[in-house]
Structures are given as C-alpha cells and as structure tokens.
C-alpha cells in the first residue's frame, strides 16, 4: 500500500516535471519496487505434476530471494513470479509464450517449459521478443539453433549419456569386480529417450567397451512388457538401459522383470531421465522392486541442498527434491544474479548479463559453473546419478554431491 502510494507520487511528480517524457518515464521504470519473472510450465494436463513441482521450486526461490532483501542493485526490488500454463501440447505452449510476451511486457526473464518440444516452441517466441529464458530441458536442439536468448542449465542429452556411461562402468567394475561387457537398451520413442539412446548407439557404448545385444524401442503406453523382457532374459546382458517416460511403462517393465526372475538387480538396470525417480512411482511400484535402480538425471537434490529438501517436504509434502524443483529453484537465483549485474529491470540487459555472467561454481545445478558458452549452454554442466535406496532415490554421483554411497546389486 505504502509502496504503491510512493510509486504513484513519484510518477505524479515526474509527470508534473517539465522534462517528463519518454526518457524519464523509462528512468522510473528502471527503479521498480517489483521485478516480474516468468515461469512457463505445464500446470494442467498430462504434465501438470512436474510443472507443479517446478512452480514449487520457483516459489521457494522467490521467497528466499525476497526474504534476503530482494534485488539489491535495484534498491531491494522484490521478485514477482508470473506463472503461465504451457498446457500439454506444443501449440498450447507456443500460444502461452505468445501470451507471456504480449501480456507481460515488463518480464525480465523466464524459466520453462519442461518438455523439450515445449521449450523449443516457447523459445521460438521468446527469442523474437528478446526475453531470456532459462531451461532445464536438455534436447541438444534447443541450443543448436543459434539463439541468443535461451540458456540451458542442464547438460544436453548427448552430453549426459557421455558423462554417465564411464561412471556406470566404473561403478559396476568396483562393485562386482568385473567389467560389464554386454548391454541391452529398452527405450520408448519420446524425444529425450531417443536422443539418449542414439548417443549410446552411435559410439558411446563402443567407447566404453560395451556391446549392444538387445535394442528395443517401444511406443508409450506399453500394453504388455512380456516380449521385451523375454528378449532381455534370453540375451542376459550385463547391464540394461531402460528409458521410459511414462510411469506406467516403468511399472509394467519392472514388474515383468521381477516375474521373470530378472528383477531386484539380477540384471542391473539403469535409466535416463526423471520418470523412474518421480514420487508417483511409489504409488504403483513397491520399494523392493525399485531397490538399487539407477537413473541418470540432469540435476537432483544433493549434498548442500539438505535444508531445501527439508523445506520442500514440509511446505509442499514432496518426499524428495527432483530435478524439476531444484533446477527451477536455481533458475530464479541465476536470474536474480543477472538482475544484480544488469542493474536495471530490462530483459535485454538481463540477457546481456546472463551471457557475460561468471558466477563461479554452481550451487544448485550439478557441477560446472554459473557461466554460459556462446550457444547458451552452461559451462561444465554435469549430471547426477540417482539410486533408489530403501524407497528413496538419492544422489550417489558425483561423489562431491552424493548423499549416499552407491551399491551395485549382487547377483
């Protein structure tokens, strides 16, 4: 109330002033009491759940930033989160982006939009509107288009597989005493899974001395996993890479594996992406079936985030902190830092600040720095390996972020 009155007074006095023109009103706009930040994520439809978690992460960050005095270089201006629903289709996401840039002209930056295909569509709009967007989506394509206003905080899909594979081989070797030689890939055909599997097939497996013996692609939703599991059973690979996107598919395959006597680590199973470590998994799959399962994720609640994980638990009843929560939390802090550096609430200035940013070691994203290369990819972006241990997926890699020691299922 008082703030609003003061703003109105300022404006009135400025308007009254003889020099009140375009420049001075811009000058006023540079000292706002509030700075708007966008969050464009799916909060309705098929992907509402991850979108909601992203919103929780963003809300927590905004509260923390404001509680610590807001944007100091803007006179303690508070961040204000503007949430837009990207819906569940590419078209809806694109329309929401158009709405965001048209209806919220004073946004300085945004975060979004969960699925790579949504982010691709959204950034086509924001690029043209010079609005910087931070994203946790990890399709390589997002930062391969020569765009200047998109910043990818996660390691790209190709890079994640490249980082993960040696770690997994090493983990298997130290735990079981012998180097794994054969692998099976069972993947669905969604964009993220396909690009991870492609990276593995196109040389990554060979580089790590692994031989592909089973290579199966399915279309979600899976009706029956029997034939897939039979193929895996007859080949008996040392490792199984299982890349589902839909939780029901994960459940079907894990249960079928168990039924065939391959479950609970008989064939060590490694996933990519977040689906297999979502809290929803526990609603359909028993913790015993999940025990030991590994997944490679761009980011996860890890060492140093204990307080955040606890807060998320009490505030939103989320059992653990997924990539969606921690990454979006981090995005808000990066935007905050860029605002501090830019010194004005202006989207182009914020984008410039992001491009020039050298924020030192990353606190909320795994490894690397708060610094973006010319493509907009975070420099040194690492990834995390998460393992189901006693009903909770915990970060086990990299060691400096690990909350628990990894164990290798013994057969």
């Amino acid at each position: 109330m008082t703030r609003a009155t003061r703003a109105a007074l300022t404006r009135r006095s400025l308007l009254a002033g003889a020099s009140a023109g375009l420049i001075s009103s811009r000058a006023w706009a540079q000292q706002p009491s509030e700075v708007k930040v966008g969050l464009l994520v799916p909060v309705s439809g098929l992907y509402a759940r991850p979108g909601t978690v992203m919103r929780q992460g963003a809300e927590m960050a905004v509260d923390h930033i404001n509680a610590q005095g807001g944007i100091k270089s803007l006179g303690g201006a508070k961040l204000k989160l503007v949430v837009l629903d990207s819906g569940d289709t590419t078209e809806k996401a694109k329309n929401a982006a158009q709405r965001m840039v048209a209806q919220e002209p004073d946004l300085v930056a945004a975060s979004g939009a969960y699925l790579s295909s949504f982010t691709l569509a959204v950034t086509e709009v924001t690029e043209r509107a010079n609005l910087p967007v931070l994203t946790l989506s990890y399709s390589d394509l997002i930062t391969d288009r020569g765009f200047k206003y998109v910043f990818q905080t996660s390691a790209t899909a190709g890079s994640q597989a490249k980082q993960a594979l040696p770690q997994i081989v090493k983990l298997a070797e130290t735990a079981s005493g012998k180097k794994p030689k054969t692998v099976a890939i069972v993947t669905d055909n969604t964009a993220a899974s396909v690009s991870s599997a492609k990276a593995m097939r196109d040389g990554l497996l060979a580089e790590n001395g692994l031989q592909l013996t089973v290579d199966e692609t399915f279309t979600p939703p899976l009706a029956d996993a029997t034939s897939l599991v039979q193929k895996v059973r007859s080949a008996r690979p040392d490792l199984l890479f299982f890349l589902p996107t839909v939780i029901s598919d994960a459940k079907l395959l894990l249960e079928k594996m168990n039924e065939f006597g391959l479950g609970q680590g008989k064939i060590p199973t490694i996933s990519f992406g977040i689906a297999i470590a979502e809290p929803d998994m526990l609603q359909t799959v028993s913790p015993e079936l999940l025990q030991g399962l590994l997944t490679c994720v761009a980011s996860w609640g890890a060492k140093g985030h204990e307080a955040l994980i606890a807060e998320l638990k009490t505030r939103y009843k989320e059992p653990w902190m997924t990539q969606n929560a921690i990454s979006t939390y981090g995005d808000m802090w990066v935007i905050k830092d860029a605002l501090e550096k830019a010194g004005k609430a202006d989207r182009v200035a914020v984008a410039d600040a992001l491009r020039a940013m050298d924020g030192g070691p990353s606190k909320y994203y795994p490894l690397g720095e708060i610094k973006f290369d010319e493509k907009g990819r975070r420099v040194g972006a690492g990834m995390t390996i998460v393992q189901w241990q006693s009903g909770v997926p915990v970060t086990v890699f990299p060691p400096q972020l690990a909350l628990a020691q990894p164990f290798w299922p013994k057969n």
Binding site: D85, T90, N95, A96, Q103, R128, L141, R145, K198, T219
Partner: protein, 593 residues
C-alpha cells in the same frame, strides 16, 4: 448474378476480419487471429470430404501433418522457402488423399471413420521412428520475408485470411457444380447416387484429393506459424478432432460451418486457457468440452443450420399461410385425358431390354431364379408379386446394384449384366426407389439436377434438363420448394423427375404409388401414362393391382423369385396362380374360371 450477390457476406466478413486483425497490436491476440482462419481452413477441408459426402474422416491430421513436415523439412534440408513449400505441401496432401482414399473408400459408415483414424496415428509413429520428434523451422535473420518470417504478425493473419477466402470460394464453386451435387447425392444415399448415374468412387476420390491438398497446404502454413513441429502437434488425435469440432460446431455441409465454428471456438479456447488456466488448471478443458456438448445436443447439425432453420421458419410461417390457401394441384397442369393403351400401339416396337435366365441367390435363398422377359419400346410392364417375391432384387440386378449370379441382361442387344449402376444409368436405365431418398434440405430443382449430370456436359445443360424433367412431372410451380416440405405425392413425382432428368430410355419405377391415396395415385398414374405416350419404356413394380390394371400393357408376375405368369392385364388378373400367390388358396374359389 445470384452467385455474386451470395458472395457478398463472405467478402464483407473477410474484409471486416482483416480490418479487426489490422487493428490488433497485441502479438498474442494476433496469433489467435491467425489461428482462427487456419483452423477454419482445416475445417473446410474436412467439410469438403466429410461434410458433403457424409463419410466421416477422423484422420485429416494425416494430410495436415504431411504438409507441416513437408514445409519444415523442405526448409531444413533444401533451404526451400515456405512460399514454395506450401504449394508443394498441397500437392503432397492431395497425393496422400488419393492414396488413402482409394483403398479406404471400399469401407462405409463407421468402418470408414475408424479406418481413417488409423492413418495419422500410423504416420505419427513413422515420423517418430524417423527421428523427427522435434523439428524447428530455422530462423532466418537475413532475409525473413523470403522465408515467410514476418516481424509483423498481422501479415500471417492476412495470409491465412487470403487462404481461407480462396478455400471458401473453391468450396462454394464446388458446392454449386456437379461436383458438389454428386457429393451431396453420395451423402444422402450412395446407392441412389450410383443409380442416378454418378460414378461415386471417382467423385469421392476427387473430393479426398482436393480435401487432402487443402489440409496439406494449411498444415504447411500452420508449421510456419507454430515454428516447431512435433508428430503429436500435427498428426495427433487432437488435430483431427479440431477439424471435426469446428465443422460440427458451426455446421456440417456448408462453407459457413467451419468458419463459424472456428471464429467462436478458437478464441474461446484461448481465452479460457489464458484466463482460467493458471488459476484453475484444467478448467479450460471442462468448460470447452461442456460448450461443445451443449451445442451438439441443442444443434446437432451445427449452429449454422439451427440459425438458418429458425430464420426460415420465422420468415416462412406468414408466407406459408397465404400460399396454402389456393392449393395448386401439382400434377394438374397439363391435364390432358389419360390416353388409352391402344393410342400408343404398345408392344409392337423393338425389344429394348431383354432379360434371359436371370438368377441370383443369397446363400440358400433364391431371390431371383431363371427370370426371362422382354421389354419393348414404349411398353409399360408391370412387375407384380407378393412381398418377398424378388421384385426389387430384380430391379437391383437390372440397374447394377447387384451382380447377377447367372443370366444375361441385353440392352439394345448389348450384354450389360454386372456393369456398375452409373454405367447402366449412362446406358439409359433410370430408376426410382421404393424408399424415397430425397435430399431434404435441397429444393426440388437441386434434387432433380443431381440426376441430370449423367447426361449433361455443363451445369447449364444440367439445369435445363432438370427444368424439363420437372415440367414433365408437373412440379414446375413449386420447383423452388425445399424437399423437406413436400407431400409424399410430390416427393414421388420429384423422384420420378430425378430419374427423368438423366434422359433414360427405360424407367424402372419401384413402388412409385406406395403410400399414396386413391386420388393421388391417379395423378401419378396420369403422369406415368403421359411419359409412356411420349415414348418412354417403363417397368413398374407395384402392389396395388387396381391402379396397375389401368396403367400397364402387360404383367410379369413373380413369386418366390420366379416368373409364374406373364401376359395381358385382363388375363393375368384372372389367372388362378396369381390369385393364389397374392391372396392364398381360399380365394381361389372366387376366381373366375
């Protein structure tokens, strides 16, 4: 003249829309303004096939998606601008339409709809398998206009509007030509359309090709607007559903339907997404769904027809009162005394149709067995027999709905058995149906003109033939009335006119007098007699002996699919076998011997 005047609303609408879109500066509203004509065009494309032919396609996304991918891939791989690729997308869509239509048109009704549903879903997986989960149109910073990348989004709206106008004009041109008439005839009754001389497969293939081409073009344009193409966003179920939704909401089988549907539904959906979506996630879908359900319940054929029927009723009700006063007896126009048989010298002309040993069975049922007869020029042959005697089956064999099991059908000495109905119609066999299939929303003239195209080269000639045919049955005065408002007798006469419009030499009339009162039947009989006097050869199926005895030159009596008696009316009506077949044994005693 009439064409230009009716174009006015379309031009006014387009101009108004353009003016509004130019005044919109908010880029989000501009996007919505662009999406309205995009979905309207897609709805029109769907309407062109499904609205006019009644063959519901759940798979228009197949064409749409191919167009979208063609444009994106064309620019990525060959650096071809959408200006070039959208026409190519149209060609691809057309080819896809042809390829999909050819096998799928073997199916009808629900089977057709379900088969169509499969195409986009199957293609969706192909594109996923090809690794095209996400493709984007590369941004062109140097020469954006050449790649249809406008900084001013209003240009997209104008472009979409131009495409929509072109599609509307095309659809209207089709609607008024023999093309549209043929499609409408297929919708009402595909069999009857074949019987009226329409090569239904050929017209359906043309419709699906054109429809696919439009969908392909608009899909390509949509890719330019959306910038990112994913299989789900262009081949998904929701895309096909969008075409159905806008068309069914607005009105099926009219150019206005998809436009109205799109103008209302697209902004509504967007507004709900924008206003309700972030506060009550998901509520937008609920409201949207409810709105559609309400309209489907209240106006099953769409808003356009509901409003039009309402307006027509309001304007028609005072007019109807005045016109119903002096009742115009339709057939009374040239009321010359019915000529007697002897005036026509029947039965002496050449044999025009000869049937030899014709048989057809359905499983164990011998519907027609070993039927032979000759039909001479200018003769009226009455085919009678009790229910299930095989009369209609015989007609179906004669006009090609059914293939004969054995036997020959000789038309002017040429073997014609097993030909398609439209070929037999071209050869000069016209027919009417026991169950009338009028096109209820169309006027008498429009109903009749459908039958004329088999003979006419041009639309004008078809109109002339139709007018003549209507005059011959005496319906000229009410030729502009809508078929839905006619009496049974007028409908019978209209059906007769439709058959006549194709200028047949032989008319097969299937229970033309059914459901008529005594006086009405007499009026129709008078019309048939006049036709015979003018040289028409007629075979007529009838139950009512009375009217027939005065009408026909000879009888062919069928029972259990076989001919039991053939001969002069007087002789046949006295024949004991006929009486037995018709009335049962106990009436035999009354038969004069």
């Amino acid at each position: 003249m009439r064409g230009w005047r009716s174009l006015l609303p379309i031009i006014v609408f387009t101009a108004l829309y353009a003016a509004v879109s130019l005044s919109v500066t908010n880029s989000y509203y501009q996007l919505v303004m662009t999406l309205v004509p995009v979905w309207a065009i897609f709805g029109l494309s769907w309407n062109l096939l499904s609205g006019y032919t009644g063959l519901i396609s759940f798979g228009h996304a197949a064409f749409f998606g191919l167009g979208a991918y063609a444009v994106v891939l064309g620019q990525i791989h060959f650096d071809l601008s959408p200006w070039i690729m959208i026409p190519i997308a149209a060609i691809l869509g057309g080819i896809a339409g042809l390829l999909i239509g050819f096998p799928t048109f073997r199916l009808q009704g629900h089977y057709f709809a379900l088969a169509m549903l499969a195409y986009p879903l199957a293609i969706l997986y192909v594109f996923e398998w090809l690794g095209l989960q996400e493709v984007t149109l590369p941004i062109k910073r140097d020469n954006p206009i050449a790649y249809m990348q406008f900084a001013d989004h209003r240009l997209y709206t104008l472009l979409a509007l131009a495409m929509m106008l072109a599609t509307i004009l095309l659809t209207r041109a089709i609607e008024r030509s023999r093309f549209g008439m043929a499609l409408l005839a297929i919708k009402q009754n595909e069999a009857a359309a074949e019987g009226a001389g329409i090569n239904t497969l050929a017209w359906k293939l043309r419709a699906v090709t054109l429809s696919g081409a439009i969908a392909g073009a608009v899909g390509g344009f949509y890719a330019v607007v959306l910038l990112v193409v994913t299989p789900q966003s262009v081949f998904g179920m929701l895309v096909s559903a969008q075409a159905l939704t806008v068309a069914m909401f607005g009105g099926v089988g009219t150019v206005w339907g998809p436009v109205i549907g799109s103008v209302i539904l697209i902004p509504l959906a967007e507004t709900l997404n924008a206003e309700a979506g972030s506060r009550f996630p998901g509520i937008q879908g609920v409201i949207y769904g409810l709105a559609i359900i309400c309209v489907i319940l209240l106006a099953p054929e769409g808003l356009f027809w509901k409003v039009r029927d309402f307006l027509r009723k309001r304007s028609a009700s005072p007019a109807a009162k005045t016109s119903s006063g002096p009742d115009i007896p339709a057939a009374a126009v040239p009321s010359a005394p019915a000529p007697s048989r002897s005036e026509r010298f029947p039965g002496t002309g050449d044999v025009v149709l000869e049937v030899r040993n014709l048989s057809r069975s359905f499983g164990g049922l011998k519907a027609v067995q070993d039927v032979s007869f000759k039909l001479r020029r200018n003769e009226i042959l009455g085919i009678i027999g009790p229910n299930g005697a095989g009369k209609t089956t015989l007609f179906n064999l004669l006009n090609g709905f059914l293939r004969p099991g054995t036997g020959e059908i000789l038309l002017d000495g040429r073997e014609m058995s097993g030909r398609k109905p439209h070929e037999l119609c071209e050869a000069g066999i016209g027919r009417t149906f026991q169950i009338m299939r009028p096109f209820l929303r169309m006027s008498i003239s429009d109903n009749v003109v459908v039958g004329a195209y088999v003979r006419a080269k041009t639309d004008a000639e078809a109109r002339r033939l139709a007018t003549e045919a209507i005059a011959r049955v005496g319906l000229s005065e009410i030729a502009d009335r809508i078929a839905g408002e006619l009496t049974t007798k007028e409908l019978r006469l209209m059906e007769l006119a439709r058959a006549l419009a194709g200028q047949p030499r032989i008319l097969l009339l299937d229970e033309t007098l059914a459901g008529l009162g005594h006086d009405e039947a007499n009026e129709v009989v008078a019309v048939i007699q006049r036709l015979a006097r003018d040289g028409m050869t007629i075979a007529i199926i009838e139950h009512t002996m009375q009217a027939m005895v005065r009408l026909v030159d000879s009888f062919l009596v069928l029972d259990h699919g076989a001919v039991i008696v053939e001969g002069e009316p007087e002789a046949v009506t006295r024949d004991s076998r006929v009486i037995e077949a018709y009335l049962g044994k106990k009436w035999m005693a009354h038969a004069p011997h």
